[in-house]
């Protein structure tokens, strides 16, 4: 257990440093670290502090968010197929961003896109809470999430459908693939408070999720407030997923694959999986963001495309390995 934590932490740290050292501007490793930590405001320091540092931090932060939210969602629904996007918040955040691009808000105001995405996420979470908040069980939450995702997806398509502006359509399509390229410290400061709040909320769920291993009835009889747990789960997931989608677009499969991958290593206990998945998600997204810069540096490969491209076969492999134990 502690060894797993240590090796995951080490992997995150190593990938983080590596992420700082790779980029289109070829800077020698030592120079880049000197630029980051030493004073001065030359071009090297500029690249390091304003481009690479926020990119690396955002990758680690959003990866951790997706891993944590995925583990919490799977633990609550007791279903290894659950993922953070399930409650419809990422879909509605994407809709907000798409509207910002289409209306030109994102072009006229730098933070227009992420702010609209956050507004979209808020709308989605309010709707999910109205449908599945204080009452209604896990099934209602899933159904409400599916309905909201479908609605947001349809409205996104409608924007694309009716758009008269080919540049906006182009931009929307690429934005929806998810990316961490050209993000600034401002993006980080915008996403950080929501993310931290979401982490605190999700991290508090450990014991309740453990008790849910025995089913909702038994967990409730052991003193777990199920409605409060569901509320905290929805709000925590909405915070981290809304903030992540707002700055990086839709990044799939991390929240699904990482908890699945790490579950055997923590004895399948949901509370221990929360932390492991957070670290694993950070490592995975840092690695994926490194890969998009190394594999096709001049073609701007999108992060969300790569995570799905790597994640899906990985998931197939896991299913192949465990299918004998599945009912």
């Amino acid at each position: 257990m502690t060894r797993l934590m240590a090796s995951l932490s080490l992997a995150v740290a190593a990938l983080f440093v590596l992420s700082l050292l790779v980029g289109p501007a070829s800077i020698a490793p030592l120079d880049s670290l000197a630029g980051l930590f030493g004073g001065g405001d030359g071009p090297v320091a500029m690249v390091m502090r304003e481009i690479r540092l926020p990119r690396a931090i955002l990758a680690a932060m959003i990866g951790a968010s997706l891993g944590l939210a995925g583990a919490a969602m799977q633990g609550y629904l007791r279903n290894p197929l659950a993922e953070p996007g399930l409650i419809g918040v990422s879909g509605s955040a994407a809709l907000g961003a798409v509207i910002a691009i289409q209306t030109g808000l994102s072009a006229s105001f730098a933070l227009g896109l992420p702010l609209m995405a956050l507004a979209g996420a808020l709308g989605g979470v309010l709707l999910v809470l109205a449908l599945a908040g204080p009452r209604g069980g896990s099934l209602v939450l899933i159904l409400a999430g599916i309905a909201i995702s479908a609605m947001a997806g349809a409205l996104t398509q409608l924007v694309l459908n009716l758009s008269q502006n080919p540049f906006a359509v182009n931009e929307i399509v690429f934005w929806m693939m998810g990316s961490l390229a050209d993000r600034s410290m401002t993006h980080l400061w915008l996403a950080l408070p929501f993310t931290l709040l979401g982490w605190v909320l999700l991290a508090s769920l450990g014991r309740g999720l453990d008790a849910l291993t025995l089913g909702e009835d038994a967990a409730e009889a052991m003193g777990i407030h199920l409605s409060r747990l569901r509320l905290v789960l929805i709000l925590g997931t909405a915070c981290v997923v809304g903030a992540g989608t707002a700055v990086a677009g839709a990044i799939g499969f991390v929240g699904l694959v990482v908890p699945h991958l790490l579950r055997p290593w923590v004895g399948a206990q949901p509370s221990r999986l929360l932390w492991a998945s957070a670290l694993g998600g950070a490592a995975m997204l840092l690695a994926a963001d490194l890969a998009v810069r190394l594999v096709l540096p001049e073609r701007d490969l999108k992060l969300g495309v790569l995570t799905a491209l790597v994640g899906a076969p990985l998931f197939l492999h896991l299913i192949y390995k465990t299918r004998r134990e599945m009912p």
Partner: protein, 250 residues
């Protein structure tokens, strides 16, 4: 000492009354069997008594706040749910949830060890609970409830689907709990086991408690015919009470 007290408890689901006016007390050291035909509301009665279901009337357990209630009663639902492939030990330790501080204390470990020993699971502590047989899983889940270390244990059909040896062993475990001063309320369909192992039976049917008392008092031929629509052979032998259902009444 009263461990559960119901006063005029009624439950109505979707406009249909399931039962009404249920009043009963369970004291210390009792092994109580809750019997009744399908649909009589045995599960509903237990869930309402726990406060997991909307109800009218009073239940001493439902009135407690959730954490205090979890220290007063352990509940085993009928569905034997084990969602993740955790070890037997980890699963039994979940029974300590209502007692735990941040870390497991000496008392927690002691209660878990005792529950595992009691159910004879020591040799499978580190095995994965989801890979065990149905009978073994049932025993692990009983150990979980015992680890909760409550004065009252409520179990919904804990012996359904077990082979005779495990059924008898489970009933004897519960009877042993009762002898040690704790109390058990179990719903049962097997009237033979109920007559043999329970110190008291509560017969639920026709929307009310039809009878409440010792097995001999509750399982009269008239009552058995009225509640279950069957005839039965009964005898008090030197090997205990024998109850064998015979025929369905027309």
């Amino acid at each position: 000492m009263t461990l559960l007290s119901l006063r005029d408890l009624s439950v109505t689901l979707r406009g249909r009354p399931v039962f009404s006016g249920v009043t009963l007390n369970i004291g210390a050291g009792e092994m109580v069997g809750l019997i009744g035909p399908n649909g009589a509301g045995k599960t509903t009665l237990m869930r309402a008594a726990l406060g997991l279901l909307d109800h009218d009337g009073q239940s001493s357990l439902a009135a407690l706040d959730p954490r205090a209630r979890a220290q007063a009663v352990a509940w085993m639902p009928q569905a034997r749910e084990i969602a993740w492939p955790v070890t037997v030990e980890a699963l039994v330790t979940l029974g300590r949830t209502p007692h735990r501080a941040r870390r497991l204390t000496e008392a927690d470990h002691h209660a878990v060890d005792r529950a595992i020993d009691w159910m004879g699971l020591s040799h499978m502590r580190q095995r994965t609970a989801t890979r065990l047989s149905g009978g073994e899983q049932a025993r692990v889940l009983i150990a979980r409830a015992l680890a909760q270390d409550t004065p009252l244990v409520m179990a919904d059909e804990p012996i359904a689907g077990l082979d005779p040896a495990h059924q008898i062993a489970t009933m004897e475990t519960f009877a042993g709990l009762a002898r040690s001063g704790r109390s058990v309320l179990v719903s049962l369909h097997d009237l033979g086991l109920a007559a043999r192992h329970c110190s008291r039976l509560i017969l639920l049917g026709q929307g009310q408690v039809m009878a409440d008392g010792t097995p001999a008092k509750v399982l009269t031929p008239e009552m058995v015919a009225q509640a279950f629509g069957i005839t039965a052979y009964q005898a008090e032998t030197d090997q205990g009470r024998i109850f064998q259902p015979l025929e369905v009444l027309e």
